[in-house]
Symmetry: C2
Subunit: 158 residues, 2 copies
């Protein structure tokens, strides 16, 4: 009854898909923007000093907080522990970081900057601060809201 004779075979009925624009999807936008922000500085770090992002995080954290274990880095610099461990190993190999067993708890490693490491940071930190300032100027009025938004994202359970 429902078939019309001689009608061309219908394509299978495709349920319409929701409209979805990747360019407005926040995880995507955040990811692209984050990659872009990192890229500028990271390029210089890598080209001039052979330092990648994980190494950079380790170095900053040691500068800021002194001796730290791998576990500290994992927690406070958002580095998965094997990533932190390997970054520390690379930095030890290049002489920027010293790795000594912790006397109190011998499971722990004490990571600290060598004087070469401090000298390196004396070069890197001004670049980072300048970049930070450039971003602050760029974002200007929006900076406060941006930071509030970032805080919300980080507080949210997941």
């Amino acid at each position: 009854m429902e078939d019309q004779p001689h009608s061309p075979p219908d394509p299978p009925v495709e349920p319409p898909l929701p409209i979805f624009d990747l360019d407005r999807f926040l995880p995507y936008r955040m990811s692209v923007a984050a990659e872009r922000l990192s890229a500028g500085l990271a390029r210089r770090y890598r080209a001039q000093f052979g330092i990648g992002v994980p190494e950079w995080r380790v170095l900053v954290h040691l500068t800021h907080s002194g001796e730290q274990s791998v576990r500290d880095l994992e927690r406070r610099a958002s580095l998965e522990k094997s990533k932190a461990s390997r970054a520390a190993a690379r930095l030890e190999a290049t002489g920027y970081v010293a790795k000594t067993p912790n006397a109190g708890d011998r499971r722990l490693v004490s990571l600290s900057l060598t004087s070469e490491g401090r000298a390196l940071m004396a070069e890197l930190l001004p670049l980072a601060l300048a970049y930070q300032q450039r971003l602050d100027a760029l974002l200007a009025d929006h900076l406060g809201a941006l930071e509030a938004a970032l805080d919300l994202m980080m507080d949210e359970p997941a």
Copy 2:
């Protein structure tokens, strides 16, 4: 004249390093937040459907824009071209995407969703939309400023 006899040997003078707090460094914060935003959804995609982030981007773009070349994906979904090529290959292998040579310009590949691909997206897109709404609600007042800030970051030369 400047040496005091019997004074203990001075440690080498360490130039003081600038104070720098990683937790307030925007590239770092953006990176952590972006990773976190992606993680929630991406975990489900991967666990339930074996879909990673590059595959997700390809699928969304094909849903939204129909037939596309690898080059289109590179430009419009921020996927480095080998990443786009391999994601498309994986999706072809799992049957979600069809890859046919483009008749007009035989250097190009025409990628398109198969009906399995469309069925997959019929499941994925509602999840993404729900997530988007959750984020919108979470950010509420800050959303406008956040998007403005993201726009600024993307416009800036680098």
